[in-house]
């Protein structure tokens, strides 16, 4: 049925030709085909009319595109539509860019941000990767700085590679808006600083008034494209830096510090500023330093305290260790000094070897034990080491010890050595004493022997007996030279002791004699007393002779009252002066 109208239409010219001559046929045909013909005409008319056709297509175009997409052949559709859409978009932008921009606005911002983030991230990642693998000095420095300042490594590297330029720095008097100083980078085109300063001040007022900021607050930053104006506010002046590029925050600190310094230095002049800029001539130098700002390693004020704490601990440990080592060395050195003072020890060298304190030198066998000194000093013997060579010390103290060890002095004899001379002290037998001299000279270090301090045992006995005899007193009655029976008995005992004494003296080859001295008290006349004392002495000499003592060794002497035995302050003491005493004389005696 679909091709019927077309077939019929194809027949039409023939039909019209035949219709001219055949009226009824035409009528018949009209009768039979009229309704259909009309419908056909309507259709024909609709197809020929563009408006109607547009209307028809518009009602199905969306469904048609949808259907085409469902059929899976949307690529051809896209190809077909792309040029038209492109042209349409171009036309839309040409006519009014705002429409498209407004439409895209909600998606553009996030899309751009995302894109920038992605780009940055991949940039940083690759940067990080490069630096990670790099062991360059700069890389290590950046790593250390990151650790020290608490910034991330990439941040540090970025800060170092930031590209920015401080083009101008203004110092502006706050109240008048007049420029106090100005620094400018080479080849930067600039306007008159007075005008720029004034306008900056005016703009600050404008912002403050327009947006009702708090009193004392001012403009901090202005930004246009890649140009930044950073402003730091002080009580009397403001500093403004014009920066191209991205400057690090540290620059702001530098600006603030410079402004603080200027206020400190020129506080009064700023407060009383009358338009004369002469006092501020030197400020341009400070501003130039701000302008020449480059990123420097700067520790972050807060955070990462533990890095410092760790550094402090390490420093403390190293310091402690160094201190402890110094203290140990000092104590060992003190020990060496003590050892040097010890007789019989000679230190030739000392110092640290392989962590131990090594002392080398010579040591006499009789010298003090160095180990004992180490213990006394409270040092660990494990940390020390001694190397001694043997020798004979010639210190008197050691010679003395050596003499004692070799000569074995008997009890009662001690040895003293002075300048190599042995001086025995005490008493010993004559035989031992005479042998000592020969033996002592064989002891190393002894060059002579002085026996002056050594008493012979025999001599001691003789001296004692002599002293005993000389303390005896034989008393007589008043004005008499007669011996009482008791005195006679005493005299007999004295005679025995004298015999022994004379024998001892002979043994010592010091033949002794006895002087018998007669005394009187002071009561009689002097002439009588001389006579009486002589008689008393003679009486005793005679009696001793009778008792067997050799007369040649006895001498009588009358001393009258010249040598009183006791002071006559009592009758008892006076009796002592009516007497005879004895005095033993021998060549060796003092």
């Amino acid at each position: 049925m679909a091709d019927t109208p077309a077939t019929r239409r194809a027949l039409e010219p023939a039909e019209q030709a035949s219709a001219k001559g055949t009226g009824p046929f035409d009528e018949l045909r009209h009768l039979i085909l009229a309704p259909e013909q009309e419908a056909l005409d309507r259709l024909h008319q609709r197809v020929a009319d563009p408006e109607a056709r547009t209307e028809d297509v518009s009602s199905v175009v969306a469904e048609a595109i949808q259907l085409r997409r469902q059929q899976g052949d949307d690529e051809a559709l896209s190809h077909a539509l792309a040029p038209t859409i492109e042209t349409a978009l171009r036309e839309s932008v040409r006519k009014d860019p705002a429409t498209l921009a407004d439409a895209l606005f909600p998606v553009m911002g996030p899309a751009i941000r995302k894109s920038i983030l992605e780009t940055l991230r991949s940039f940083l990642d690759s940067f990080n990767e490069i630096m990670d693998q790099s062991f360059s000095w700069q890389g290590l420095k950046s790593r250390f700085e990151a650790l020290r300042t608490g910034r991330s490594f990439t941040e540090v590297v970025l800060l170092h590679s930031l590209v920015f330029r401080v083009e101008q720095v203004f110092l502006i008097h706050k109240k008048t808006g007049l420029p106090l100083g100005h620094a400018i980078a080479p080849s930067v085109a600039t306007q008159d600083p007075s005008l720029v300063s004034g306008m900056l001040s005016a703009i600050q007022d404008f912002v403050r008034d327009s947006f009702h900021t708090a009193e004392g607050q001012g403009l901090g930053r202005m930004n246009v494209g890649d140009l930044d104006v950073w402003v730091e506010q002080g009580p009397y002046a403001i500093i403004a830096a014009v920066i191209r590029g991205i400057a690090p925050r540290a620059l702001r600190d530098t600006l603030a510090e410079t402004l603080e310094n200027i206020h400190r230095q020129y506080g009064l002049q700023l407060e009383r500023f009358d338009g004369n800029t002469a006092p501020f001539a030197a400020i341009d130098g400070d501003l130039a330093r701000c302008r020449e700002f480059r990123y420097k390693e700067e520790p972050r004020r807060k955070g990462r305290g533990y890095v410092w704490a760790a550094a402090a601990i390490v420093l403390l440990l190293v310091g402690g260790w160094a201190g402890w080592r110094w203290w140990q060395d000092h104590r060992w050195s003190q020990l060496v000094e003590t050892l040097r003072d010890q007789p019989g020890l000679v230190i030739t060298s000392f110092g640290r070897e392989h962590g131990r304190f090594v002392i080398r030198g010579l040591r006499d066998r009789l010298a003090a034990d160095p180990i004992q000194f180490v213990k006394n000093a409270g040092l660990s013997i494990k940390r020390g080491e001694f190397h001694w060579g043997a020798y004979y010390a010639l210190d008197d103290a050691i010679i003395q010890q050596r003499a004692i060890a070799q000569l074995l002095p008997p009890p009662g004899v001690t040895f003293l050595v002075e300048d190599g001379v042995l001086r025995p002290q005490g008493s010993a037998s004559s035989t031992w004493a005479s042998d000592l001299v020969r033996r002592a000279l064989l002891v190393p270090g002894i060059r002579a022997v002085n026996l002056a301090g050594l008493h012979r045992n025999e001599q001691t006995a003789f001296d004692k007996a002599k002293s005993d005899i000389q303390s005896l007193v034989v008393t007589f009655p008043i004005a008499s030279a007669a011996l009482s029976p008791s005195q006679m008995a005493a005299l007999r005992a004295i005679a025995l002791r004298l015999k022994s004494l004379f024998a001892s003296a002979d043994d010592l080859q010091q033949p002794a004699t006895l002087e018998v001295i007669g005394h009187c008290d002071s009561t009689g006349a002097e002439t009588t007393n001389v006579f009486l004392s002589q008689r008393r002495a003679d009486r005793v000499v005679w009696q001793l002779g009778q008792l067997g003592l050799p007369g040649t060794r006895l001498h009588a002497k009358g001393a009258a009252t010249n040598e009183p035995v006791r002071k006559e302050d009592s009758e008892e003491n006076r009796q002592y002066n009516r007497s005879v005493t004895f005095r033993v004389t021998s060549p060796g005696a003092n």
């Binding site: 109240k175 008048t176 808006g177 007049l178 306007q191 007075s194 005008l195 005016a202 004369n276």
Partner: protein, 164 residues
Amino acid sequence: MLQKKICMLGAFAVGKTSLVRRYVESIYSDAYHTTVGVKISKKVVQANNSEVNLVLWDLYGEDDFQKMNWKHLQGAFGYLLVADGTRPATLDKALALEQKARAEVGPLPFVFVVNKCDLVNDWQFDAALEAQLVAKKWTILRSSAKTGESVEEAFSQLTGKMLG
């Protein structure tokens, strides 16, 4: 170098900007008046054998729609008070501005410039008022933006007052 901030006060459309336009250096357009409320220019004058750098703050002329920002007057060492000699209302306004300035920042050296003196036929600056102001020791100059009359003199007189 000596620098002085000076201001230019006056009612709206008295010819402040036109008066000085030919005599000062500026990098800013007149549009600043209506945006920021001030336009800054520079004028170098000779005084006491040395140069003085006058930084001129041309303040927006107060009218019914926009108030003048008196903060701009802070820190000024002196000002030019401008009125239109053909409009008595601007003369009154100038007197009021002088009072207000005195109240805002205290007494400052100033020169009263009565502009548009070339329009002789319309001149309405009352001689009685002038005598009254002279008695108050005001410095009064008749000026013309058109002929440039008294403009340089206004600056040098003001400088002399500020330095004196």
